[in-house]
């Protein structure tokens, strides 16, 4: 047993900090461990807050995963809530703390210091932003205030500012309470982390649920009517009246303490750490929403305010403090969001993120498989986008949207990516299949097949962004009745079954871009054409993808229609 006890002080006791503390105790029974939390709660379920507001979770106490008393009893950890750390004295290795209840200031020495201060909701200095009825949602008290307001005033209308994950979860939960929602988002799409055409499915669902969307417009300020109602003004000069407003503009890492102490910050404004989560001061670690982490795919430094990575980082920091050989390998930023029955999940890089990182060696494929075999009742399409490296087939990212099974396929692809899989590994994935669970050729396999076929040279992709300007011959191989219901302008229709006998109708010295409903028949057609010496390429994902890429052209991007995905045309999906 050590005689000199190590003294570890942790600033912030929610996800990363609490995990770090508990892990430290397991690794070192003798360490003195102190957790200082400015807020009223440690280790609370912040991901549950929208659902507490929506009364899906009835009982506030359920949000408290662990109390200071439990930390003391179970882990022999000294947890002090409402204690704010005000300064770090790096040379002398102590911090100053203010007890927010008593106002008393005191010093706390440390051998190792862990910063887990988290992030704060972004609150721009808009006129009127402090008006009553305007909320953010980050803490249990925040959610209680919002709940109490709703219970007391029974608001009929709300404006949610920001259509990211929290904004959409909050919108759904307010709608669940009977409140009519207007959603204002500065970007020209909902869910800005997603690629725009994938976010279109979310947008369709929100609209179908009666959420009023105001995209591509920003808030400029708030006013209060004499009757108490709020008016929200936008950059475009519009105004929206509402009984309440929720700001869901994202979060900003809490770095003031680190900055004041002269610790290095990164380009994205988070605390810079090494692979052991150590800051530029070798006695100070940092974890969670306040740090920048490497994106495993692009290598870019990013702010990834997610609970999973925060927990992992807390564990790595604890091990590193105890002298263990560990590394944080960066984040894939796997994430999921559910609202109005729709699941939106993603992992790794989006096309946007690749562009931002200057990466051009990639290909996107689209597919729309059913979440289980079509012959079993209740099949729903999963709209998927897979990104892979053209030069070697490495999987770079995936997005999936659907009523069922989207998170499962993203989990599989995330695991494959973690293991540095190529699309050929996805082709071979051996996943759970029974009729109510999937298909013998799972959506993940299909994504692998499509990409693998292209990598093997069995087919080539035409660029969707040139579909309206190309001089290529556009060929749609669906049946006539499908074609008539909607098609890409300029397409000629030859059903797949007639293709072999009608080859003479096709140009021999011109590119032929082939499409169908979801891409499968186009691929079959491509194989026929290219083996007959014609120059064929496919428009990945077919007309279903066209409808989200060009909703204004197709004029029928409504989810109800797009979702009518054809039965898997490939035989033997048993």
């Amino acid at each position: 047993m050590d005689i000199a006890k190590k003294r570890v002080v942790i600033v912030g006791g929610v996800a990363g900090g609490a995990t770090c503390a508990a892990r430290l105790r397991r690794v070192d029974e003798n360490a003195e461990i102190v957790v200082l939390e400015r807020g009223s709660h440690v280790s609370f379920a912040n991901c549950g807050l929208p659902y507490y507001v929506g009364n899906v979770i009835h009982d506030e106490s359920k949000l408290l995963l662990a109390t200071p008393a439990l930390f003391q009893e179970r882990f022999n950890i000294d947890v002090r809530t409402r204690n704010e750390v005000t300064a770090i004295h790096r040379e002398e290795r102590f911090i100053t703390v203010r007890n927010l209840e008593t106002g008393r200031e005191y010093r706390e020495p440390y051998d190792a210091l862990v910063l887990s201060p988290g992030a704060l909701p972004i609150c721009p200095p808009w006129p009127g932003i402090r008006l009553p009825g305007i909320f953010t949602l980050r803490t249990i008290p925040d959610s209680r205030h919002m709940r109490d307001w709703i219970d007391a005033r029974n608001p009929r209308t709300a404006v949610v500012v920001g259509a990211g994950f929290i904004g959409l979860e909050t919108a759904e939960n307010l709608a669940h309470r009977g409140i009519a929602i207007t959603l204002i988002e500065l970007a020209d799409q909902v869910m800005p982390p997603l690629d725009k055409e994938m976010a279109a499915y979310a947008q369709q669902r929100l609209e179908a649920q009666g959420i009023e969307l105001r995209l591509g417009d920003g808030v400029t300020g708030f006013e209060q009517h004499h009757n108490g109602a709020l008016r929200v003004h936008t950059q475009a000069g519009a105004a929206f009246d509402a009984n309440m407003v929720v700001l869901a503009l994202g979060v900003r890492p809490q770095t003031q303490l680190a900055r004041n102490a002269g610790l290095e910050l990164g380009e994205r404004g988070g605390i810079r750490v090494d692979e052991q989560m150590r800051t530029s001061d070798p006695g100070i670690w940092a974890v969670g929403d306040a740090v920048e982490v490497r994106n495993r795919i692009t290598g870019a430094w990013e702010l990834i305010p997610l609970a999973g990575p925060a927990n992992r980082q807390g564990r790595v920091a604890a091990d590193a403090i105890c002298g263990r050989d560990v590394q944080y390998e960066g984040a894939l930023a796997t994430a999921v969001c559910g609202f109005f029955g729709l699941t939106v999940a993603l992992t790794g890089a989006t096309e946007k993120a690749l562009s931002r990182a200057g990466i051009e060696d990639y290909q996107a494929v689209y597919l729309h498989p059913n979440h289980h075999v079509a012959y079993y009742p209740g099949a729903h399409p999963i709209h998927m986008k897979l990104l892979y490296r053209k030069s070697d087939g490495r999987v770079l990212g995936a997005q999936a949207v659907g009523d069922a099974g989207a998170e499962r396929r993203i989990d599989v692809i995330a695991t494959a990516m973690q293991m540095k899989a190529t699309v050929h590994d996805l082709e071979e994935a051996e996943l759970c299949y029974a009729p109510q669970y999937g298909a013998a050729k799972d959506p993940v396999n299909l994504a692998g097949f499509i990409a693998g076929n292209a990598l093997r040279g069995d087919m080539a992709f035409a660029p969707w962004d040139c579909v309206h300007s190309t001089s290529a011959f556009l060929l749609d191989v669906r049946e006539l009745h499908e074609f008539r219901a909607g098609y890409i302008p300029g397409c000629v229709n030859i059903p797949l079954g007639q293709l072999r006998s009608r080859l003479s109708e096709l140009p021999r010295h011109k590119d032929i871009w082939v499409t169908c409903g979801v891409g499968q028949r186009a691929y079959y057609a491509c194989r026929i054409l290219s083996q007959h010496g014609l120059r064929a390429r496919i428009l990945s994902g077919g007309y279903s993808t066209y409808c989200v890429l060009y909703p204004e052209k197709s004029g029928r991007a409504r989810e109800t229609e797009v979702a009518k995905v054809e039965l898997q045309a490939d035989p033997v999906s048993v």
Copy 2:
């Protein structure tokens, strides 16, 4: 374009054969492709048959995924149903075929021959086995006969012989039709592919649904009463009366054609093939239920009658025939079965399979996490068993049982195993998390943590099979009220929160085996004890696992009680 067209004949047109045919066409537009199928249908949804019997799938036509006409039109493939191949003439490269409609025999020459004859239900020569009212379920006509029988006679009782996947799916579907079920199984457990203690959860669910189970007893024969009812006799001398009987004893590969042609068979009775699915004759390939494949984990040859591997093999054979460089890497045998709301999923090796293969370098861990965070309504436990190699941490297999989310975790672990992951990779898996989808520490992460902790030497496992005979000190660290509700005989109770102050009550020179509800608090206790110089080990999975390992001792293995899994005691599961 080739002048000499390759002529490929495929024997059998369901999963592997139909996939092989369609893939061949995509790779070689010029090949002549003939599919000969003895039955009335190609490419039908055999996995859907129990659900057609149960009227979950109403319409028989939904089971037909592709018709001969579609194969002709779309793929230019000549599909002939009701044509049975009677002999292979390897030297001259032709087969003889009998048209079962006309009786005509004819020859069909081939350049490449693919055998995809499938498997037949096992039907032992028991007395009375041909009596009316005794069914097997393998083809569409089989399912139609069973449906018609049920519609016409409205049976009140049925005996299902065999409690494997098909037996259980059939039992559920018959119960769905209002029929009381007795399930007879020769093994001493249901779902013989699973380890017995994991199958216990399935057994509990079946019993809770009123299915009468007769385990460890075999059928010896059948009699018919004068009123038409059937009597089923068993080895143990019991007799069961029923209005109908379903035989679900598994399948036997159809190898007569291969055997008669002198092709090499394997030790398990299937056709032996190489990594390109080629038989001992270089002009003949074989795929699907009739072949033996290498288990990716144990390396053993196995019969794996699953649709996913069959499709993959069909694809590999087609590519190989066209001269492409491909390999079939063997199977993980990932599988899933759902009945009465329960999902049972597995991948890779079970403990049974490891023993059979003579592999001793492994460790089993048990866990019982919730499928999503406990604070969000509707959380269900997933009972999991993970097997890994002790020497290097490689994941060897996993089984999961639960009302929700089991297949998703098995898919993730299957993907990890395919990529040769270790348990440390499971620790780092970055999976989808929002409150309704999982936990920041996903069940997969938890499985990795437990195994990783052991591999790092932070804890050790006590062997469950010695729990009643050991001289070790048995310590249960749950709260007193939990302990009182049921405990392992001989256990002493010291709640975790009191452990540090009661260390003197524990023996210093004796092994201490620690248990709790699901294993988490036992691990915390272990860390405390071992850092205080005591020799502690944990009983993996805690009392929840004890209840399925020793249902007769615990006397409370009823699912309703076992399923009361404690709230995750680890803070910060947000």
